[in-house]
């Protein structure tokens, strides 16, 4: 329903698309078929097709969470008196979220490997292929944006009258365009200047760096503003802010607000011109070589590889670790496979590396500085034990991110090997995967936190460090036991509802882990003996969950799939 409506909306501008050199009949055809496919869930190996119900359910859940996020954004809309400044904040946050989603979740839409064989040999020109991809992502973004913007739309309508309600949708479309074309232009520039063979590599590093940067900015911007911010803040006064796209969007309200500073309203034109300019540049200069470059991306695979020489003699490091921590061959197989695959899978690295950066950034900006200088903050740190707990429990994020993505792969069909080989207990493979993730990603990270904690809080916090280690491991294993009772790299990724699902996961994780952390904090500060009770309890639970997960049988797996 919604898809068809959005498709119609997009095809309203067929004049523009034709003007750009696209074949609109083909364009509509490609878009329609892609939307149909997105709504279908691929089958994973050895599993029967799921009912349609849970797709609908997931869609609704993501709509609800988008709505909630939209309500949260209202806070920015009414925190500041000056309407343009508050609108500026609102659109800034919104734009950040969109760009972030685009970069992390939508690169698959932009570079669909199947297209090479299905579309490239057909008489479809580059501009059509390029526009199809761009508009496809536009429709998806719009689906996320609509529920998220509803609260803002209604609130602004009440505040500033019907003109505002009429204006809002147009500005919203412009906002989506800005985010989309900006990211697109970056990708295409990359595609243009990086060798096709290296492109995938370059792309993933670009994504990692860019998402870390965005994340850092997201937390830095409010902090920057706070220095000279008050209820009376006026963004328009600062020429620097007037260069930002979110200011252009916000300034369009100056056309309808009575008695507003009229001179600044012309900035809103930039919001219209900027995406048009971006689109024109991309279609004109970058798109013509688009398909050719896409075609070349995987083409180098056809070349016979040069026989690689093993440089190191004897057993590799990971192999020795595997021997050390696994006694059972099946567990070891799961461990080794996960260890190696996580090192080489671009998709996995792209998801997990930023998480390492997010936690320190998040910690520094939200909990450390809080309006004071770095040296002052570090000086007062030992007195504030609650911050230690925030840091300790935030480390869950690394583990939960790894757990989520270790089951996903583009080559999920290769998981047939587990079904074909004499694996008695599939749980053995799964626990091997968990061990590998825990040792490879979580342990080094947690060690760094331990060093940091011991330096600032001293050895008195050792019991806390142990308990939180147990709790975080327990929590992650529990998540895996409940939600991911499947083989590593055995599921395909669904871009559909990706934005919504990520949010649900983050919300739930933070909620539960927050509770755990609070209980731990309570015990640590008021009843220290309780700490040891918790420790024992965590150990027992950990052992139970571990046992249950490691002994997952084929029958349990079948149940988990339904």
């Amino acid at each position: 329903m919604l898809n068809k409506l959005l498709l119609r909306l997009v095809m309203l501008f067929r004049g523009i698309w034709t003007g750009m050199g696209a074949d609109t009949a083909q364009l509509a055809n490609i878009l329609a078929i892609k939307l149909v496919m997105d709504d279908r869930k691929p089958m994973s190996f050895g599993r029967q097709r799921k009912q349609k119900k849970d797709i609908k359910y997931a869609t609704w859940l993501s709509v609800v969470f988008s709505l909630l996020t939209g309500f949260f954004y209202l806070f920015f809309l009414f925190g500041i008196k000056d309407p343009v400044s508050s609108l500026f904040m609102y659109f800034t946050i919104f734009l950040f979220m969109l760009t972030f989603t685009l970069i992390t979740d939508f690169s698959n839409v932009l570079f669909d490997p199947k297209e090479k064989y299905v579309l490239l040999p057909r008489p479809v020109n580059d501009k059509t292929i390029f526009l199809a991809r761009t508009l496809h992502s536009f429709i998806y973004l719009f689906r996320i944006v609509v529920p998220m913007s509803l609260p803002g739309w209604v609130a602004l309508g009440i505040q500033y009258g019907w003109q505002s309600a009429v204006l809002f949708p147009f500005v919203l479309v412009l906002m989506v365009f800005i985010a989309l074309f900006l990211v697109n232009a970056c990708y295409l520039l990359l595609l243009r200047f990086v060798k096709p063979e290296k492109f995938k590599e370059a792309l993933s590093y670009f994504q990692i760096v860019f998402s870390i940067l965005l994340f850092a900015m997201y937390y830095m911007l409010p902090r920057l503003m706070e220095n000279n911010m008050s209820e009376q803040l006026n963004i328009s006064a600062n020429p620097l802010f007037r260069l930002l796209p979110s200011y252009w969007l916000a300034s369009s309200w100056l056309w309808i607000l009575p008695g507003a500073a009229t001179a600044f309203r012309w900035y809103s034109l930039a919001a219209v011109l900027f995406p048009v300019l971006c689109l024109w540049i991309t279609v004109r200069w970058l798109a013509p070589t688009f398909a050719a470059r896409i075609g070349a991306i995987d083409a180098s695979d056809a070349v016979m590889p040069v026989a690689a020489k093993r440089t190191q003699k004897g057993k590799r490091f990971y192999s020795r670790v595997a021997d050390m921590v696994n006694r059972n061959d099946t567990v070891k197989a799961g461990f080794l496979m996960t260890w190696l695959q996580t090192s080489r899978s671009r998709t996995f690295k792209m998801r997990i590396y930023p998480a390492f950066a997010y936690i320190p950034i998040y910690f520094i900006y939200m909990f450390l500085l809080n309006g004071q200088s770095v040296s002052a903050a570090l000086q007062h740190l030992p007195e504030k034990k609650n911050k230690l707990f925030v840091l300790l429990y935030m480390s869950t994020f690394v583990l939960s991110q790894a757990i989520t993505y270790v089951t996903i792969s583009d080559q999920y069909k290769a998981a047939w090997v587990y079904y074909a080989s004499p694996v008695g207990k599939p749980g053995n493979i799964m626990i091997g995967a968990f061990k590998a993730i825990w040792i490879k990603y979580f342990l080094p990270f947690y060690t760094a936190i331990v060093v940091f904690a011991l330096y600032f809080w001293g050895i008195a916090v050792i019991p806390d460090l142990i308990l939180s280690l147990l709790n975080v491991s327990l929590f992650s294993l529990l998540i895996m036991r409940i939600a991911y009772r499947c083989f590593p790299f055995s599921k395909s990724e669904q871009i559909n509802n990706a934005g919504g699902r990520t949010m649900i996961r983050v919300f739930l994780t933070f909620f539960t882990i927050g509770l755990l952390g609070a209980a731990h904090y309570f015990a640590s500060t008021t009843l220290p003996w309780l700490l040891y009770v918790f420790m024992a309890l965590s150990c027992i639970l950990l052992w139970l969950v571990w046992d249950s997960y490691a002994n997952t049988s084929w029958a349990d797996m079948a149940v988990a799939d339904e």
């Binding site: 083909q26 055809n29 149909v36 490239l120 040999p121 057909r122 479809v124 075609g295 083409a299 056809a302």
Partner: protein
């Protein structure tokens, strides 16, 4: 007769490694070319260039008088391609997929409908046309792939391992189909590793090795002895005549150091 495909001085490199080294080839309409070579010889690179998947190459490729660099879309309209990797959008049904492909060639709906129904029916796949392809066997996918490659009635058909996964009946049908297409004046570019099939269906064999064409002619012309098969010709020309001893070496692994099982 004018050649329908002309390849002149075609070269292609990937990061310094030469994959195609100055290939020259004329293909005439109404013939079946068996395009063969060992793994990594440059076969699929040639095919990808012909079908427009790879666009940066050195040299000239002309199809029906149109240069690939200048009239890529026109050339693509004339070509039907069945890729080796059975990549298709398998979340769709054959009906939806063929409808989609047909529209990319601007075929009217009723033509797509009629052709795809009849083609699927010939393959015995009509009953499955509204079933999602992710549940299909390899052979069923291959049938859909063949149908999608021929749907727009191309004058040049490029087939890369077209028989893979097909059942015996379908194999016979496709082989006969090739003869019918040839009689209609279509040109068929047939890439395969199954030498016995290539030998039977092709009018002319082109053998490529290390990016060079090392043999070009009818099977009869390539034979050194009367009863030499294409398989033996292949082994002789690609320098691998001692395959028998390699197989022995492979199997002997189990005899020397496998005490347990």
């Amino acid at each position: 007769m004018e050649p329908i495909i002309t390849i002149k001085n075609l070269s292609k490199q990937y990061s310094g490694k030469t994959v195609l080294n100055n290939i020259n080839l004329d293909v005439y309409p109404g013939s079946i070319i068996g395009y063969i070579g060992p793994n990594g010889a440059g076969k699929s690179t040639t095919v990808k260039i012909l079908t427009g998947i790879i666009a940066d190459y050195i040299g000239d490729v002309t199809v029906a008088g149109k240069n690939l660099h200048e009239d890529l879309l026109e050339v693509k309209k004339m070509i039907g391609y069945v890729p080796e990797t059975a990549e298709l959008y398998d979340l769709l049904t054959p009906y939806e997929y063929l409808g989609f492909i047909g529209k990319l060639y601007h075929l009217p709906d009723h033509v797509i409908e009629e052709r795809s129904q009849r083609m699927l029916d010939s393959f015995g796949l009509l009953a499955n046309q509204h079933q999602r392809m992710d549940s299909f066997s390899k052979g069923m996918r291959q049938k859909v792939l063949l149908t999608s490659g021929l749907l727009h009635n191309p004058s040049i058909v490029i087939l890369d391992e077209p028989l893979s996964g097909l059942d015996a009946n379908a194999v016979i049908m496709v082989k006969e189909l090739l003869q019918v297409l040839k009689q209609e004046g279509k040109t068929i570019f047939y890439c395969s590793h199954m030498m016995d099939v290539v030998e039977k269906v092709s009018d002319r064999i082109v053998l490529i090795n290390n990016g060079n064409i090392i043999a070009d002619g009818t099977v009869r012309e390539l034979k050194q002895q009367e009863n030499e098969t294409l398989e033996q010709i292949f082994a002789r020309l690609t320098g691998n005549e001692h395959i028998g001893s390699k197989a022995d070496a492979f199997a002997s692994v189990f005899n020397t150091n496998a005490p347990t099982e």
